[in-house]
Amino acid sequence: MVGEISDAIIRVRNITVQFGKTRILDGLNLDVKRGEILGFVGPSGAGKSVLTRTIIGLVPKVAGSIEVFGVDLDKASTSERRGVERRWGVLFQQGALFSSLTVRQNIQFPVREYLNLSQRLLDEVMIAKLGMVGLKPEVADRFPSELSGGMVKRVALARALALDPELVFLDEPTSGLDPIGAGDFDELVRTLQRTLGLTVFMVTHDLDSLYTACDRIAVLGNGKIIAAGSIAEMKASQHPWLNQYFNGKRARSVVV
């Protein structure tokens, strides 16, 4: 199902993840190409977030191997791992902003840790990042509890992009955004991908995102990747869930 891709930025092989006796992922294989935007879909509870968290290293796996940037994360030393982590950014589903830091401090936090920059440059780049995610500089001194749900998402994305990573994991980035905001967001992801050569691993349920932003789509079912390919291939698929997902009532309303 998943062909060997020579230039894979993420290479997942035979991953098995178990919680107690329930097997969530069962010998899963997945490759993510450098520079692509991969949309990752599947029924609720299929384990999309689990796979993302397994790749990032937050969920332990029973078997299999994960390579990111060509580094096997199981065999990597702590410093190698740090190096990999510095090159990826993660947008969590709920934002996961540090609640005791302001927006400014949240975005500057990873930069401050890894780079020794002047406060002026930190502030300016922070404002640039805020601008990129469509926020005004005025929000910089607010605390996360004073932001709306959509703003939290945007700030979290700005934080994920703070170090200009090569790879970003987005866990349902457009959920909770209004359609226009979601459209802007897709546009933004595209722009960043073009300009920074970003690779995007996006868990999403937003059909618009799948159509407009994603280069390739992977579908998770029964703990495995049941299909991977372009949107046209997905639509042509005979798999019942895929058929319903891409040719159902909601899908038809999406203008292609």
């Binding site: 609640s99 020794n116 002047s118 990042k129 005025e138 509890s145």
Partner: protein
């Protein structure tokens, strides 16, 4: 180095040509190594600032210095432009620094342009071009007036705390009244659950600590009383101290630390996640659903724990008296019966529910005062324990005065 202004001198011209040549060579090696550079190359009456290498976050400190140097060129030449065709790698940091340079050169009244922008990077540069320059400046200065203001606010806050506690007491009593009239609203399961948490699960640690305290009191008493040959009076001291004061006070302090903090943290995180608001919108009273069962559990738990604690302390004291002081268990019990009356026990145990109520109310007020951040949760949990212990000790003092005046 080419300075900001120079006369039209042949010597300088020659130097410049040589310099440009050297810089060109240096630039080529720099591109190979990836280190970013920013050269100045004269072109007719203009000046080209040639950026090369990787303009990325990793090199940002160096880049910032280079850009700051180049900014001094503002106004020196009629035509300055920034050539970025040699840039091998560009990210937001680099793009912003180029944009910053462009802006400060333009501000000088001359049009600075960015040339040689590849299609890949054009949109990134466009993106940062939209950034409004003025960085927001954080102002947080420490002044004497500010400190005085802080003290004033804290003092005024004491009054607010007391009002808050009385309000909560009223709300809890009102909820208790409603539940009394309509017993179906009483949450038995929840109460039992909390009783298990604050009473049953607290038994081992409470018994252990009071046992040890009993041992220590007894050992100290024997050690010092022995000098007067008054070993046996340690039983009097132990009995009165444990039953009247130490037993209940110690247990109350432990409960404030153990359960008061847990209540604050639970309610606080529920407040943070809007669970309490959700309850309210469903037509439930959070006081009735969340706080009343907790309060009731605590008020029932503390007397039980105080009793168990007192027994453990007496047992520990008796054990040490026997092993260390040679006081026979039978003699210990006889002496204990003479030394203490039921009044001592009543005085101790009557304080327990009151202290439990104080701890519970402080914990719940603090829990509901939590704001959106994790820091706030921590602060309120701390102050729940601190205030809880403080009020427990104050209550103990009030009780001491009260019992002394009624002669118990």
């Amino acid at each position: 180095m080419i300075s900001g202004s120079w006369s039209n001198d042949r010597f300088y011209k020659a130097m410049r040509r040589a310099g440009a040549y050297l810089l060109q060579a240096k630039r080529e090696t720099a591109i190979v190594s990836g280190d970013p550079t920013l050269e100045r190359i004269a072109q007719g009456n203009g000046l080209a600032l040639c950026a090369a290498g990787s303009w990325t976050a990793r090199f940002a400190p160096v880049l910032e210095k280079m850009v700051a140097d180049a900014e001094k060129l503002r106004g020196s030449r009629p035509n300055i432009f920034i050539d970025v065709s040699q840039v091998s790698k560009l990210d937001t940091f680099g793009a912003w620094l180029i944009e910053r340079l462009r802006r400060s050169l333009t501000d000088g009244g001359i049009e600075a342009k960015i040339a040689g922008l590849s299609a890949n990077y054009a949109s990134l540069v466009d993106e940062v071009r939209r950034v409004k320059a003025e960085p927001v400046i954080e102002t947080r200065s420490v002044t004497i007036t500010g400190m005085l203001e802080q003290i004033g606010r804290s003092v005024a806050g004491v009054g607010g705390t007391l009002v808050g506690l009385i309000e909560m007491l009223g709300a809890v009593l009102a909820a208790a009244g409603r539940v009394f009239i309509r017993p179906r609203g009483f949450r038995l399961t929840s109460t039992i659950h909390h009783l298990e948490q604050v009473c049953w699960r607290a038994v081992p640690i409470v018994v252990l600590i009071t046992f040890l305290i009993g041992c220590i009191i007894s050992q100290q008493g024997i050690f010092h009383f022995r000098k007067f040959g008054a070993d046996i009076f340690v039983v009097d001291m132990l009995g009165v101290l444990v039953l009247r004061e130490i037993g209940v006070l110690l247990v109350a302090i432990m409960v404030a630390g153990r359960s008061g903090s847990a209540y604050t943290a639970e309610l606080g995180s529920m407040k943070m996640r809007e669970e309490i608001d959700a309850l309210r919108t469903m037509g439930f009273d959070p006081i009735e659903v969340l706080i009343l069962p907790r309060m009731l559990a605590l008020v029932l738990a503390l007397p039980i724990l105080a009793f168990l604690g007192a027994m453990a302390a007496l047992y520990g004291g008796g054990l040490v008296a026997y092993l260390y002081g040679g006081v026979d268990p039978e003699a210990f019990l006889l002496r204990l019966r003479d030394a203490i009356s039921i009044d001592h026990f009543i005085v101790g145990i009557i304080k327990a529910p009151v202290m439990a109520a104080v701890i519970g109310i402080v914990a719940c007020v603090e829990g509901l005062a939590v704001q959106g951040s994790a820091e706030s949760l921590g602060q309120h949990t701390t102050s729940s324990v601190v205030k809880g212990i403080f009020f427990v000790i104050v209550m103990d003092g009030v009780f001491a005065i009260f019992f002394a005046s009624i002669g118990m």
